[in-house]
Symmetry: C2
Subunit: 156 residues, 2 copies
């Protein structure tokens, strides 16, 4: 494990910004466009999740063929969901089945083309009526400015 | 993004425990031994880190050929360190160069053979004398009961 002073990190951030500029249209190389980095997408996704706008985050920042993998299967659902619509449906299922009292989102924590978010939610699942705290992290992989994979890490 | 009630997760935990039992010696298959899961190792590593015993965690739970990858390079050091001794040296360098006032370790958050820890440290780097909060996550990959990769996620 190693940590470093914040003043050492400025160089790293500058490098990330520099390498994020790529040509996205081979026919018009002079029209350069910035593809969002993992860090930039992470900031937007975290901000939307904090406002409860998770579906907006999916619409705006997820690739059509995104894959979502849970730490374990939910009842009546596979661990792995493929495609943006399946992931929106899973998210909607969760919203429909939980009363959300509050929560927090820490991050994003970036590393190359990935970022981590840390979620804590104070919820009551409608099925049990028992108020609980959900504490989990999500690992997101970005390609070409879109989230192509989300993996959730949690335990009992 | 999706979450689920804690009561749904018991089944997942039981499955993880079951699949963690494997033969580690082909010549004595009747002598089954439990290889620690990512969750079990994560709990031990988190507990040791909370006590400031990071070197003990490396000694006990890291594979000899473990790889450590920072989000960006530290001054005078490559982003990637290979081998347990190099990682112990990096850790010692950090301890020697920071005054640690306090901190917290959240987790482990497991997902198959990986787990995430979330660190917040209140430190003063000796080089600057300026007290700061370091906030980062670590993604750990486990094989055969040992940590074989640690990746740190953070930004400015």
């Amino acid at each position: 494990m190693a940590f470093e002073g914040a003043h050492f990190r400025r160089r790293c951030t500058a490098q990330e910004t520099k390498t994020s500029t790529v040509h996205i249209n081979d026919r018009s190389p002079q029209q350069e466009e910035d593809i969002m980095t993992a860090m930039e997408i992470g900031k937007e996704v975290a901000a939307l999740c904090k406002q409860g706008k998770n579906q907006d985050a999916i619409d705006r920042f997820y690739a059509p063929n995104v894959v979502s993998i849970e730490a374990c299967a939910m009842p009546g659902m596979e661990r792995t969901q493929k495609g943006i619509q399946a992931i929106k449906d899973k998210n909607q299922w969760w919203v429909d089945n939980h009363e959300i009292h509050g929560g927090s989102v820490d991050g994003p924590y970036p590393h190359d083309d990935r970022f981590i978010l840390h979620f804590k939610y104070d919820v009551t699942p409608k099925q049990t009526g028992q108020r609980i705290t959900l504490d989990e992290t999500g690992l997101y992989t970005v390609q070409n400015g879109k989230v192509v994979k989300e993996e959730f890490f949690y335990s009992m």
